[in-house]
């Protein structure tokens, strides 16, 4: 009985993380029912991964920028611009793919450095700089493409968007064995890692997670990975972009959790002044975050272009909104200091499943946008409600003043008079 109560107490303390995960599963089940099973057909699962990969790549960089208390509105335009640059390099100039890809990532880094300079060193709010960037790089996309699409791309680049890892069984087996090996291996690695971390937490007496919940959670995650593996293996195997994405998620999760740079990012978003007074070079950290965002935008642009096999003037339009929504649905705080890469991935998948499911149902973009907007509002609203109820999180009103992003209306600092009156009444 006490174990149950303990578990429930723990779940309420982690309502947000648990809630978002449950929401994803419910949405998947809902659309699985509504589409008559089409959603989880092997081919559609593969589509889901490939279709959303570039948003997920952007969401990684976006959640980092948001954790630091900034925002980036320009990623869609930058992705489109890099697609155009890739088109010119590969199709017009005839560069090989292995030279063009690093060159494009470098251009992305330069774009990020340009924006990071204005934000970090000149001190213009990121909202303004990247709003300008949204226009600037859309303009440059149109100029580079001379308003016409560039196509076709060589097969090597197209593989980045729609290619699969080679079939080692030679196409004779029902299941793709390489995918099965990778999927089972990844699941085993995840289990080992989870147990190792729990053991260390126990050793230092930091464990607050009840054993029951740990087992449920780990088993569930492992099962989920195996199911996805099975679904992918029974279609065409592992999309190359999934390998890229998985590598990025692992690397960036480690970076944000364990690296000095990641810690500094959280510290800046949590309390900019305290970070500064602790000797953190806040400007350099901010600058690097935007350079990183530029590189990831470039990668997203390459994947998108490769998938369409065409660099298009309107390529990347709206990506910024999807990736920002992914980060916020995934639990990032508007005030900065809170958020995770994994959360942003789940947020991105929720958006992706909504998109995909509604498209299968034949809902028009009109209703799709309406519903996606409501989901974003409810997710963040739930967050705020939860925070107000628990009363934690410290002096958020004050922290807002330190941010360069404009504070939402409800967090306006209350006049000193009414504050002191309240203090007096108590």
């Amino acid at each position: 009985m006490s174990a149950l109560r303990e578990s429930l107490g723990f779940l309420t303390s982690r309502l947000r993380q648990v809630g978002i995960f449950v929401a994803l599963i419910l949405i998947v089940l809902l659309f699985q029912g509504l589409t008559g099973g089409i959603l989880l057909e092997p081919q559609n699962v593969t589509n889901l991964v490939v279709q959303n990969s570039y948003i997920l790549i952007l969401a990684i960089g976006m959640v980092m920028v948001i954790i630091a208390g900034h925002i980036d509105l320009s990623v869609g335009s930058v992705a489109g611009f890099i697609g155009a640059v890739a088109g010119v390099m590969i199709v017009h100039w005839g560069w090989p793919w292995w030279a063009a890809i690093p060159a494009c990532l470098l251009v992305g880094a330069l774009v990020g450095a340009w924006q990071g300079y204005w934000i970090a060193y000149v001190g213009i709010p990121a909202f303004i700089v990247t709003l300008a960037g949204m226009l600037i790089f859309r303009g440059l996309t149109l100029i580079t493409l001379k308003n016409q699409q560039i196509t076709p791309f060589p097969a090597e680049l197209r593989a980045l968007g729609g290619g699969f890892l080679p079939d080692i069984s030679g196409g004779t087996s029902v299941l793709e064995w390489l995918t099965v090996i990778l999927g089972v291996g990844a699941t085993a690695a995840l289990l080992i890692q989870a147990f190792k971390e729990r053991r260390i937490r126990r050793k230092f007496d930091l464990e607050s997670e009840p054993l029951v919940w740990f087992i449920i959670k780990t088993t569930f995650t492992a099962l989920l990975m195996l199911i996805i593996t099975f679904l992918l293996a029974s279609y065409r195997g592992t999309p190359i972009v999934l390998v890229v994405l998985a590598a990025l998620v692992i690397a960036y999760t480690a970076l944000m959790n364990n690296s000095v740079f990641g810690r500094h990012t959280y510290a800046i978003g949590g309390n900019l002044h305290a970070a500064e007074l602790s000797g953190i070079k806040t400007k350099a950290v901010t600058f690097r975050l935007f350079v990183n965002m530029g590189v990831l935008s470039a990668l997203a642009g390459l994947v998108f272009t490769a998938r369409l096999n065409s660099a298009q003037p309107a390529g990347g339009t709206g990506f910024e909104l999807d990736s920002i929504a992914a980060a916020f649905i995934g639990g990032a705080a508007v005030t900065g200091g809170i958020g995770t890469v994994a959360g942003a991935m789940i947020g991105g998948l929720i958006m992706g499943v909504l998109n995909n499911g509604m498209s299968i149902l034949g809902l028009g973009t009109d209703y799709q946008q309406l519903i996606k907007g409501l989901v974003l509002l409810v997710a963040v609203g739930f967050d705020i409600f939860n925070k107000n109820r628990s009363g934690g999180g410290g002096d958020l009103g004050k922290r807002f003043k330190l941010k360069t992003t404009p504070p939402p209306a409800e967090e306006k600092p209350t006049p000193a008079a009414s504050e002191t009156v309240e203090a007096g009444v108590k």
Partner: protein, 509 residues
């Protein structure tokens, strides 16, 4: 002549756990300038908030008579209707609005909901003439100096037909010239029949304008001195402000003082926005190994500004002067330089400058020296936990684990986290700014013990504090600051509250 305009009787105001005011009496006569004196935290501002209705009438005990009629204010607007206007230390002007718009903010000169701009600007111009401010009423407030903004506040008060004007530390943010103007204006308004209450601890100002002085200490009225009875003297005011006994709240300590560690020479700092204001002027000080040195000074004396400008230029502009460590000049132009040279600064404002309140204890402790825990850019989390657990034990941080969020700890425990953070950066010099502010008595003793331990370990410690007994209780030597000058250096053997207060209120020519 001596007809009372305001009588406050038996005012008692309690905050959770603290009696801020206890049976305070204040009598102000019509047409006089009445000064209220007291140490930081004595209850001056609380008393004025009681008077002006910031604290509604049912939240305190006692009786207020204004023009012989009882007052039951439930908000500021009630007191303003009766002609009592308070001007707070932090000006309440909207920087982008014009002078005239600010004067009539909330009291717009309008007919049927439409603002009459001609009337607004014309009336504003008349008020500006009354306060002697030669500015166009349509000028945005942000384009005029702080001194002039203060005059706009007074013009705003006049527009409300003020009978009793309350000024809370009106010259704290002004340079000498602007302060002089302001004081002249107060005298001028007195000639026009406006009664003023001025909260100040600048004794020369009080001597210049005050007809009467009421001294408040520890939330109680000590006495009211009257000019016409020849009672206003510096000695008497100082005695009234500090006269209390040292309590034995401090750990015993055998100082073991060694060589000089840090020396600051000829240090000057200008205000970051108003470059004409010198916040710290030609300060010289030093601190030795194992020594606890106090910096005493009243609000606005420049103590925090001095410390923060040394610590990576985090305050002020056009800083000049030199910092020496072990006799060699060092560069502390950025915080990371200062930390690298073994200087640590624990801020007076834990919540806004000291801690990341949404993060846990261990990550706060490791923040300033994260690289000590990192290999090739990645933090060793186990080591981090071990370190944080070590401080949790040695500093007696009361929390379920080092994974507890700092925003939910008590003030004393938060302060211990801040101190742990700086101890982990392994400094030679620790500057502790108001280390016991907002901390209960028991935790204060623990903080004093930690300070004593740091000194015993051979660290040089500088303590900035507004509480003189605290400085007398823990320091080996005390510097006093007034208006940015170091006005005194007192060895502990010669230090009393009276001597310190004497230096703290001294004006250097």
């Amino acid at each position: 002549m001596n007809t009372p305009i305001l009588q406050m009787r038996g005012i008692t105001k309690t905050f959770p756990g603290v009696k801020a005011l206890q049976d305070v009496t204040l009598d102000v006569n019509r047409g006089e300038v009445h000064a209220i004196c007291g140490e930081n935290g004595a209850g001056k501002s609380t008393l004025m908030k009681v008077l002006s209705g910031v604290y509604p009438h049912n939240t305190f005990d006692g009786e207020i008579l204004f023009e012989n009629e009882p007052c039951n204010f439930s908000s500021i607007s009630d007191s303003e209707k009766r002609g009592i206007v308070i001007i707070h230390q932090e000006l309440a002007l909207s920087p982008f609005l014009s002078i005239a718009e600010n004067i009539y903010l909330g009291n717009e000169q309008a007919t049927n909901g439409w603002v009459d701009w001609r009337k607004t600007n014309l009336e504003a111009a008349k008020l500006l003439a009354r306060v002697g401010l030669d500015e166009n009423p349509v000028t945005p407030v942000q384009h005029i100096s702080v001194g002039k903004q203060q005059l706009v506040e007074i013009a705003k008060a006049l527009s409300k037909e003020v009978k009793l004007l309350i000024l809370d530390e009106p010259t704290a943010a002004l340079n000498d010239e602007d302060s002089g103007h302001l004081l002249d204006l107060i005298l001028h308004l007195k000639g026009q029949g406006v009664t003023s209450i001025i909260i100040s601890h600048k004794l020369n100002e009080i001597r210049k304008v005050a007809d009467a002085v009421t001294i408040i200490r520890d939330g109680k009225t000590i006495e009211t001195l009257r000019l016409d009875e020849g009672q206003i003297t510096q000695e008497r005011i100082i005695r009234g402000m500090v006269g209390r006994d040292l309590e034995s709240l401090y750990p015993d300590r055998e100082p073991n003082i060694g060589e000089e560690v840090l020396r600051i020479e000829d240090w000057s700092v200008r205000h970051p926005q108003d470059h004409s204001r010198m916040v710290v002027r030609n300060a010289n000080l030093h601190v030795r190994k194992g020594e606890v040195v106090g910096l005493a000074g009243l609000m606005g004396a420049g103590r925090t500004e001095l410390a923060m400008s040394v610590f990576g230029r985090t305050y002020g502009t056009a800083t000049s002067g030199k910092v020496y460590k072990y006799g060699e000049e060092i560069n502390t132009a950025t915080v990371s330089d200062a930390i690298r040279h073994g200087i640590a600064y624990a801020t007076e404002d834990r919540k806004h400058y000291g801690l990341n309140l949404i993060e846990d204890i261990k990550r706060n402790i490791s923040l300033a020296a994260l690289r000590k825990l990192a290999k090739r850019g990645f933090v060793d989390k186990n080591q981090e936990t071990v370190v944080a657990n070590g401080y949790r034990k040695s500093m007696n941080i009361k929390a379920p684990s080092v994974a507890a969020i700092t925003g939910k700890l008590s003030g004393g425990n938060q302060q211990k986290v801040v101190l742990s953070k700086w101890m982990f950066s392994d400094p030679d010099v620790l500057i502790l700014d108001e280390p016991t502010r907002g901390i209960d008595v028991g935790a204060k003793y623990e903080i004093y013990t930690i300070i004593a331990k740091l000194a015993a370990e051979g660290k040089a410690v500088i303590v900035i504090s507004s509480e003189l007994p605290e400085l007398l209780g823990i320091c080996d030597r005390i510097y006093t600051l007034a208006a940015g000058h170091i006005t005194g250096e007192v060895p502990i053997a010669e230090a009393t509250q009276e001597t310190l207060m004497h230096y703290m209120t001294k004006e250097k020519e």
